[in-house]
């Protein structure tokens, strides 16, 4: 039996996996790294960039607040005076827990995986609201290019510190690039603003020992797949059914792999049942096949929103492995 790591590599390289990769099993996620304040359920926090997030009790996630009192960037042409990056944490104490976790992982079995969020696109709209950020791409493109460069420099500074301490094998990087029906921006605009940014970021990781880039965008983004390949993404996690995943595998398998094809909304909800989870998992496995595909919910971390869903999904994948391998 292949290790989780070997089985993943066989799957994405078009080899001979001996079972389906089971969701996030190949990633040992190092969540202790000092990447900045994250908002938890029932909390309202202000992070190092000055962005205020709130997560109402009982809801599924946190949201940046963009009323006049909270919006960090009110005028894109004046971003240099309104946006101040926090310092990258560089003390041994701050990194100790993450380093200890990374050192304890058996790298033959799993990938030591650093988690990075939010992404560059998300940062632009967290700072200034989605509407302002998207309009600024048209109205103030030079300022947006400069702001994006600034955000990239910050991420590279963090990446340098993180890579030197954790030596990750894999990066799991969030940046949502679309709704469930379309990408937020056109492929041309994406190519102009975001592809160069990610070529720098993912290029840095690949040049510094990272073997695998897994990018999360639980959305439609089929029109951005050529750009993802150009950026150096190995696995697009969060691919929703609206993307026609079998067609993407046929077209791009071998250049990039796809993780998802089970929309979280249809299995991870208050009325979920193991039967629903199995039905959706079976459909995904049968239509996508064994190579360049990792079945799993589109959710961007290794747990479900409702107790038992993630584990049930794992069990369903085990059943499909028994049936199809």
């Amino acid at each position: 039996m292949l290790t989780k790591r070997q089985n993943l590599l066989e799957t994405i390289k078009g080899g001979n996996p001996d079972r389906f990769v089971k969701q996030y099993e190949f990633m040992n996620l190092i969540m202790e790294a000092p990447i900045g304040a994250m908002c938890g359920p029932g909390q309202t926090i202000k992070n190092g960039w000055g962005i205020t997030f709130t997560w109402p009790e009982g809801q599924l996630g946190g949201f940046p607040i963009h009323d006049d009192a909270h919006k960090v960037l009110k005028d894109i042409t004046d971003w240099r005076s309104q946006v101040k990056a926090p310092a990258v944490e560089s003390s041994d104490e701050a990194w100790a827990a993450a380093v200890a976790h990374a050192n304890a992982v058996d790298r033959n079995e799993e990938f030591v995986t650093a988690f990075v969020a939010p992404g560059i696109f998300e940062m632009t709209h967290h700072l200034m609201s989605m509407e302002d950020a998207l309009m600024a791409l048209y109205e103030e493109p030079e300022a947006m290019h400069d702001l994006i460069d600034y955000l990239v420099e910050y991420e590279l500074a963090y990446a340098e510190e993180m890579v030197s301490r954790l030596h990750p094998d894999c990066i799991f990087h969030h940046d949502d690039w679309g709704s469930q029906r379309s990408s937020f921006v056109s492929p041309e605009m994406f190519e102009e603003f975001f592809v160069p940014a990610y070529k720098k970021i993912y290029g840095f990781y690949k040049d510094n020992g990272v073997e695998l880039i897994v990018h999360h965008s639980d959305s439609y983004a089929a029109n951005l797949v050529p750009a993802m390949i150009e950026m150096g993404i190995d696995i697009w996690q969060g691919v929703m059914t609206t993307n026609n995943v079998p067609e993407l595998i046929k077209k791009y398998g071998g250049q990039i792999s796809f993780m998802g094809d089970i929309d979280s909304g249809v299995i991870d909800f208050p009325g979920w049942t193991p039967e629903i989870v199995f039905e959706k998992t079976k459909e995904a496995c049968e239509r996508c096949g064994k190579l360049y595909f990792i079945p799993g919910a589109s959710h961007g971390l290794n747990f479900g929103c409702f107790p038992g869903v993630y584990e049930s999904n794992d069990e369903a994948i085990d059943k499909m492995s028994a049936l199809m391998f």
């Binding site: 709130t54 109402p56 009982g58 809801q59 599924l60 949201f63 989605m130 509407e131 998207l134 309009m135 791409l137 048209y138 109205e139 709704s179 469930q180 029906r181 379309s182 990408s183 937020f184 921006v185 056109s186 605009m189 909304g265 991870d268 909800f269 208050p270």
Partner: protein, 209 residues
């Protein structure tokens, strides 16, 4: 190309600095304000259709809506009190417990571009607040409720049913990622739209039927 045709083309292209100038020029040439407004509404209809079909994306829709609003600013003083120019008031909000505002804002912008006066209640709006807003505003013809989470679907249902109980004849339209046409019918809504462009078309259809 006539001035009005130019206005249409520049709204569609999202030229927010040019549109007010062209609107003024069209007025100076003797075009009626209502005629110019209708040209811009038509133009946004084209923008909505292109968005629905995937030909354009959110930024293009945003800048077109901004360009139209700049043109409307020029027309407003000339059309004050001219109720015939409006399709009525639309109350919009994201339902209780849900803080998603991006989709709701896009829908609001497109419904406004179709000719409605908008009252945006924001996010996390309790069912009773929708009803209160209908009571507090004149000429309300439509309520638009948005819900983006599977967990807030019950709140969407409650909002629709509370509004319908208070105002049985008032039209209610719903939308959001997990909402389907079947769900909309089940909760008693009059209409459903999968995206902002279609929402504007559906809104107009509901109040002019």
């Amino acid at each position: 190309m006539s001035k009005i045709e130019e206005v249409k083309a520049k709204v569609e292209a999202g030229k927010s600095k040019l549109v007010p100038v062209l609107v003024q020029e069209a007025l100076d040439e003797g075009s009626a304000p209502a005629e110019i407004l209708q040209a811009m509404v038509d133009s946004m209809g084209v923008v909505g259709d292109k968005f629905s079909s995937g030909e354009i994306f959110v930024p293009e829709m945003l800048i077109a809506a901004k360009a139209m609003s700049k043109g409307v600013e020029v027309l407003k003083p000339l059309m004050a009190g001219d109720g015939s120019a409006s399709l009525g008031t639309c109350i919009i909000g994201t339902v209780a417990g849900d803080l998603h505002d991006i989709g709701k804002n896009l829908v609001s912008m497109m419904i406004e571009s179709a000719g409605f006066d908008m009252v945006d209640l924001g996010v996390d709006v309790p069912a009773d607040t929708f009803v209160q807003a209908v009571r507090d505003n004149a000429n309300v013809k439509l309520v638009a409720c948005s819900g983006l989470l599977t967990t807030t679907m019950p709140a969407l249902k409650e909002a629709v049913q509370t509004i319908k109980t208070a105002y049985p004849d008032l039209k209610v339209i719903v939308g959001g990622a997990p909402v389907t046409p079947e769900y909309a019918t089940e909760v008693g809504a009059d209409g459903y739209a999968p995206d902002a462009g279609s929402a504007a078309v559906k809104a107009k259809e509901l109040v002019t039927a």
